[in-house]
């Protein structure tokens, strides 16, 4: 089941990457980043069956960072939405080049 969990983690990570690359709605891009973080968590938990409890402790830190990232990122989205009235990232090109 460990290999199965690792393959599932790889599939979820790739799907999350695809979403970040392809979608243009900033909130859905954030959701896809959360999906990638969850895939990494799954890999950590699977490897904790091989290496030890450290894998599960790392998942805690990843979850904390994910919570902090979601809070700050959503605050940035709110602040951008006040300015442009949209969350489509095509319109945010001030820092592009």
């Amino acid at each position: 089941m460990i290999n199965g969990a690792l393959v599932l983690s790889a599939i979820l990570f790739v799907l999350g990457t695809f979403g970040v690359l392809v979608r243009r709605n900033a909130i859905i891009m954030f959701l896809c980043i959360e999906l990638q973080l969850n895939a990494v968590n799954l890999a950590f938990v699977a490897f904790s069956r091989v290496v030890g409890i450290e894998g599960q402790i790392f998942v805690f830190f990843v979850m904390t960072v994910a919570a902090a990232e979601a809070a700050v990122g959503l605050a940035i989205i709110i602040s951008i939405f006040r300015h442009y009235e949209t969350v489509n990232v095509n319109n945010f090109n001030l820092l592009k080049w």
Binding site: M1, G4, L8, I11, L12, V22, C32, G52, V72, I78
Partner: protein, 174 residues
């Protein structure tokens, strides 16, 4: 039995992830994400990480997804059904990128000959759970060996709270 359950929950998780990527409205995407998170919690249970499964449901599916839902409702994006997939050269390039990534990950994670990796982890975790319980098995190293990263995590959360308030606050004109 656990193998069958694992495949069922893995299928639900992959379907939910596809829904996250392909759903038209942000709210639909969010609900698919909750499905994925719940089935990942079930997979955590099958991998004997019971406390992490509880945290996954309470913190991730409970708190963080509700935060996303708050923002979607606050910005009134629930009716945002416009097609927003990138196409053209960028779409082809992203397919190439994810193909490459899937190949590399499959090579890395597939295992040497299809059998599960073996190590001392499962036995040591089972012994720690038998001695301290499911929560104590994680809490004991978290508060001894990894206490410094734990405290730094507290500072990180504080900084995130302050940053979120400063960013989202409406500027008051003097």
């Amino acid at each position: 039995m656990t193998d069958i359950l694992f495949y069922v929950f893995a299928a639900v998780a992959i379907g939910g992830a596809l829904g996250v990527v392909l759903a038209r409205s942000p709210v639909g995407s969010l609900l698919f994400m909750v499905t994925t998170l719940a089935s990942l919690a079930a997979v955590f249970v099958l991998l004997e990480a019971h406390f992490l499964a509880a945290i996954q449901v309470i913190v991730y599916a409970g708190a963080i997804m509700v935060l996303f839902m708050f923002v979607i409702m606050l910005l009134n994006l629930g009716h945002d059904y416009e097609r927003d997939l990138r196409g053209g050269v960028f779409g082809v390039l992203s397919f190439a990128v994810i193909g490459l990534m899937a190949g590399l990950l499959a090579r890395q994670f597939g295992g040497p000959d299809g059998t599960d990796r073996v190590g001392p982890g499962a036995a040591s975790i089972d012994a720690a759970i038998a001695e301290h319980g499911a929560i104590g098995a994680i809490a004991e190293p978290l508060y001894t060996t990894y206490v410094v990263p734990f405290e730094i995590t507290g500072i990180l959360l504080l900084v995130a709270i302050v940053g979120a308030i400063v960013l989202a606050k409406r500027r008051v004109q003097p």
